[in-house]
């Protein structure tokens, strides 16, 4: 077998392994084996991320499926997707040891993984849509896994918004592919740039994937869905799945091929708003995972901003994309760790070496998100700033970003405040596996700080004092404020207000819900009532029929009188002859 065949085999395997495992978990016969192997399903993806594969082209699958191209985006995405899914899987094995719906979890976990990996590998529009949809709909299973009312509500919001997103994307794809029916990603940016509907497509793409990204005003599902899912689920949801939205932007927007300043500015504005809005609302939350979800919203704001800049400044697009990737990797791992940590801490407890270890780890990750010096967060922010410089963005931007960093610090502090005190003193037995996998992930995260897959050239600047300072002061300020607020909680009179998770959703629902009820009237009504209206109608018809037929009957009776027949006869004859004579 030749090398490239091996390479393509690797690609196929990356996709098929989780796919086949899904099947195995579904079938009772092979379920146990499947579930045993499930945690490792993401390993091939990780491998492919490290190595290189070869493009696969299946003409007869879907509308001609193409998979994998060895470009930076794909590799990076594969890498962090693989890592996070792998360790979340390993973590889940311990986390869900005595879970009621274990098989269901693994089924959806693997299916979502398949969709996720597929979306990264896909090289043509149709296949991308296929895997994207697969991921979206299977992730629903992770959201509602707990089978609680809250989970159901969150799931409903999630699925509705996801559907809206899908629909917009579908519209965008129709406009995009046109009569070519399907399109390879090699041509997409060019085609979009040249398309007569360019702006419409871009808007649809931005909004459509925006739902997944959790961009401002499309973010309502995040704070609902993340908390209800089991920890590993929320980890991948917040770590990789929302990144696929960003991937969609990178794949479909004409970055570097066309300049759309207006749209770009809108995106930048939206990004910044998200960055602050997420923090603002997040600070009002009580539930740790919800806080993290809002932090994700604000973090995604930075990526939105970067993409916006790339839209505005084609020449700087490559750099910005690089920055986006760095940021994606950093956020994926850090946020994944944090979410897993929320699941881990109750198991280990906060006393004892395990607890301390976890607390230290969590703090480290929090600092990463806050962008403290010498953390992956610092690297991410650094590359972002330099990319902005390349894009000649406005002078205010760096300051705003630093302010946002202050916000990040605050919200991380809020997170710790919500997590640590609630955690039990002593942990339960059997947290070992979870701790191990978590620790390993933390290790990988740290390793990736020194050998980042992208943005290596920024690495040296990390130690430059100028950057150290610019990275440090927001964290210090934030930490200070947090400390003050924390210390003052005894005597200060005001409290942080509490907003319901999903903030703007609720006023919105008040408008939409009645409409939906109206649309579905009768679905819950019993047959009889419906039948009776129909019966009334039929009765009316029958009465009318009867009456008219009776009329005819009477007429017939009158006609049957002998004399009338005679008259009819004469009349007939008369008319007949009359017609002839005249």
């Amino acid at each position: 077998m030749r090398a490239d065949e091996w390479a393509s085999l690797a690609v196929i395997g990356t996709l098929l392994v989780p796919c086949v495992l899904t099947g195995m978990v579904m079938l009772p016969l092979t379920r146990r084996v499947g579930m045993a192997l499930a945690p490792w399903a993401a390993l091939p993806a990780l491998g492919l991320g490290l190595g290189t594969g070869a493009t696969v082209h299946w003409k007869s699958v879907l509308l001609g499926m193409q998979l994998y191209a060895p470009d930076e985006v794909t590799r990076t995405y594969l890498l962090f997707t693989g890592v996070l899914w792998l360790f979340s899987g390993l973590f889940a094995r311990g986390y869900l040891r005595e879970d009621a719906h274990l098989a269901s979890f693994w089924g959806f976990f693997l299916a979502t993984l398949t969709g996720n990996v597929g979306a990264v590998l896909a090289r043509d529009v149709a296949s991308f849509y296929l895997f994207f949809a697969m991921m979206t709909f299977c992730a629903y299973g992770l959201v509602v896994h707990e089978r609680t009312e809250a989970a159901a509500r969150a799931g409903r919001v999630y699925i509705v918004m996801a559907l809206l997103g899908e629909v917009l994307l579908l519209a965008a794809f129709f406009l995009l592919v046109g009569t070519r029916v399907n399109l390879s990603f090699d041509d997409v940016p060019r085609v979009v740039a040249e398309s007569s509907h360019r702006d419409v497509i871009c808007v649809l793409i931005l909004v459509g994937f925006g739902v997944k990204v959790g961009a401002i005003l499309l973010h309502m599902w995040l704070p609902l869905a993340h908390p209800v899912a089991p920890a590993p689920g929320s980890a991948v949801l917040s770590g990789t799945i929302i990144k696929v939205g960003v991937l969609g932007w990178l794949r479909f927007l004409p970055l570097g091929h066309a300049s759309l300043p207006t749209l770009g500015t809108v995106c930048v504005a939206a990004g910044l708003t998200a960055a602050f809005y997420g923090v603002a609302v997040g600070l009002t939350q009580r539930e740790a995972k919800t806080v993290l979800a809002y932090s994700s919203i604000s973090q995604m704001g930075f990526l939105t901003l970067a993409v916006g800049l790339a839209l505005g400044a084609p020449e700087a697009a490559p750099v910005l994309i690089g920055a986006v990737l760095v940021y994606a990797v950093h956020h994926a791992l850090a946020k994944g760790l944090l979410f897993l940590g929320t699941g881990l801490l109750p198991a280990t407890g906060r006393r004892g070496w395990r607890g301390v270890l976890v607390l230290v780890g969590l703090t480290w990750c929090a600092l990463e998100i806050a962008g403290a010096p010498l953390t992956s967060g610092a690297l991410a922010k650094l590359s972002l700033k330099s990319a902005e410089a390349a894009a000649h963005a406005s002078e205010a931007l760096p300051t705003l970003l630093s302010l946002a960093a202050v916000g990040s610090t605050l919200i991380m502090a809020r997170f710790l405040e919500c997590t640590v005190p609630k955690a039990p003193e002593q942990g339960k037995a059997g947290a070992g596996g979870m701790l191990l996998s978590w620790g390993l992930l933390l290790a990988v995260d740290t390793v990736l700080l020194f050998w980042p897959p992208v943005g290596r050239d920024e690495l040296p600047h990390l130690l430059a004092p100028k950057y150290m300072v610019s990275a440090a002061w927001p964290v210090l300020v934030g930490g200070l404020v947090a400390a003050v607020v924390w210390r003052s909680r005894r005597w200060r009179t005001w409290r942080v207000p509490v907003l319901p998770a999903g903030d703007v959703l609720w006023p919105l629902m008040r408008v939409l819900w009645p409409g939906w009820r109206l649309l579905t009237t009768g679905a819950d009504r019993e047959e009889e009532e419906q039948a009776e209206t129909a019966a009334r109608l039929q009765g009316g018809f029958a009465r009318f029929r009867k009456a008219s037929l009776d009329e005819v009957e009477n007429a017939e009776a009158r006609l049957s009188r002998l004399s009338h027949v005679g008259l009819a006869l004469l009349l007939f004859l008369g008319v007949f002859i009359l017609l002839l004579v005249r």
Partner: protein, 475 residues
């Protein structure tokens, strides 16, 4: 002997012989004689049809006296087709009659039916206006006897009613003929066709002939005698009446109208007949819908179906002629099967109301099938002769730019569907427990099925009858 004379004589002579013999032999042999006569007549009729199909129109003057003095007989495609229809439908009905009527009745029924058959064949073949009158009257008289064959009140009442409505009809016809003879000194249809001129006498004569025959057929608004007569008569007789006997007078009207009057009359009278036909269609169908007695539903459907026939007059094209005749033939088969099926139901459960059909589909599948197929033909849904007829008429109405007749045809079939399925529907209901089912001989189940199959076959191979019809369509 295979001379033309013989060819045309046998179909008339054989049933006559049979009838007389049957009367003479009485009880034991009557069925045998009738059976032999029927088979013989069928063979004679088909032989004649065969010859017509191959040699074209056949003529024969009775007793060697040619027109104008003597009586001309003429066998064209139309006549041949009618002969075949009578020879196929009639015997099947009489087969059913055997077990439907009592012993004494069928001793009298069979000869009478043979008389009717003889008269009808003569009517179909004769090409002489007065001869047509005579055969018409013979048919009527034999029919009246048939109606009253049970000698019960309903039968007698129906018979008298029929007689007293038929008489004025045929007398009107006779007066018309008399006037024509007075004007043109001939009774031979062919000669008349050449001699008639537009003019008062022709008009009055045409009027009398038309009205008289419309009363006999009958056409709305002269149809009122039909339902009581049909319901009063024994079912097999009703079948004969509506399938064959009523067609006799229409046949005469069609002949005279298309061959003699049409050229010399204003198109508006054609429209008049058409309008009356249309009204008949709707009127009959509505009344059929409102009936509660099975037999009356079918009877009123006859009123409607006869209405279709009269749509030929406003169009007066060869296509319309073909359509009308096709309807005559397929209606004969379909309606006969319907009536016979009704007879079976009555015999089996003794219920004359619509409810009688309940559970029919399970109890008497063949009868049910016959009813279904017959009904389909009445509605005019393919595959059935009724559809072909409707199709031809529709085409003509569009072709002659008289689309309103198309509307009537279509509306008529919808109404027909309404009353036919009103019957069929019930037959799927479970059989009511309290009803006692008398088993009836298989023969009686198969007779209506055979009739219905004729209607079906007419819908599957229409090209053969149509080709036959084309022979001698115009003189």
């Amino acid at each position: 002997m295979t001379s033309v004379a013989a060819l045309m004589a046998w179909p008339v002579i054989l049933p006559l012989l049979g009838a007389v013999l049957a009367l003479l032999v009485g009880r034991p042999g009557v069925r045998l004689v009738a059976g032999v006569a029927s088979v013989a007549t069928l063979m004679a009729s088909s032989r004649l049809a065969w010859e017509v199909a191959h040699q074209g129109v056949l003529r024969q003057s009775i007793g060697g006296w040619g027109a104008p003095l003597g009586i001309e007989w003429r066998a064209d495609g139309l006549a041949a087709l009618m002969l075949l229809t009578i020879a196929l439908v009639g015997p099947l009905i009489s087969v059913h009659a055997l077990d439907h009527l009592g012993d004494r009745e069928d001793r009298e029924f069979l000869p009478l039916w043979l008389f009717v058959w003889c008269a009808l064949n003569a009517l179909v073949l004769s090409d002489d206006a007065f001869n047509l009158y005579v055969t018409l009257e013979l048919t009527t008289l034999a029919a009246v006897a048939l109606i009253a064959v049970r000698r019960d009140l309903p039968g007698l009442d129906a018979g008298l009613r029929y007689l007293l409505f038929a008489l004025p009809g045929s007398l009107c016809y006779l007066l018309g003929i008399a006037l024509l003879y007075g004007a043109h000194a001939t009774l031979d249809v062919g000669t008349l066709a050449q001699r008639v001129q537009p003019g008062p006498v022709t008009w009055v004569a045409a009027g009398l002939v038309t009205v008289g025959l419309c009363l006999k057929t009958p056409l709305f608004p002269l149809h009122v005698w039909l339902p009581p007569t049909y319901t009063g008569a024994p079912t097999p007789v009703t079948a004969l009446l509506s399938a064959l006997i009523s067609k006799g007078s229409f046949y005469v009207l069609l002949r005279l109208w298309l061959e003699v009057f049409a050229p010399v009359l204003d198109a508006r009278v054609g429209q008049l007949l058409g309008v009356l036909g249309a009204v008949a269609v709707l009127w009959g169908s509505f009344l059929a819908l409102s009936q509660t007695q099975l037999k009356r539903v079918v009877a009123y459907s006859s009123v409607a179906q006869i209405g279709y026939l009269f749509l030929v007059f406003p169009m007066a094209t060869s296509g319309a002629r073909a359509g009308a005749i096709y309807l005559v033939v397929s209606h004969a088969a379909a309606k006969a099967s319907m009536f016979v099926a009704v007879g079976n139901i009555h015999q089996a459960v003794g219920i004359t109301a619509l409810g009688g059909v309940q559970g029919l589909a399970y109890r008497m599948p063949f009868t049910f099938l016959a009813m279904a197929l017959g009904g389909i033909s009445l509605i005019g849904i393919p595959p059935s002769g009724g559809f072909i007829a409707k199709w031809l008429l529709l085409n003509e109405s569009i072709g002659t730019r008289q689309w309103w007749w198309a509307l009537v045809l279509l509306a008529g079939s919808l109404l027909a569907a309404a009353y036919v399925f009103r019957i069929l529907r019930g037959s799927f209901l479970p059989l009511p427990a309290e009803v006692k089912v008398r088993s009836i001989p298989l023969r009686n189940e198969l007779a209506p099925l055979a009739l219905a199959l004729i209607a079906l076959v007419l819908g599957l191979v229409p090209w053969f009858p149509l080709e036959l019809l084309a022979i001698g369509a115009s003189r």
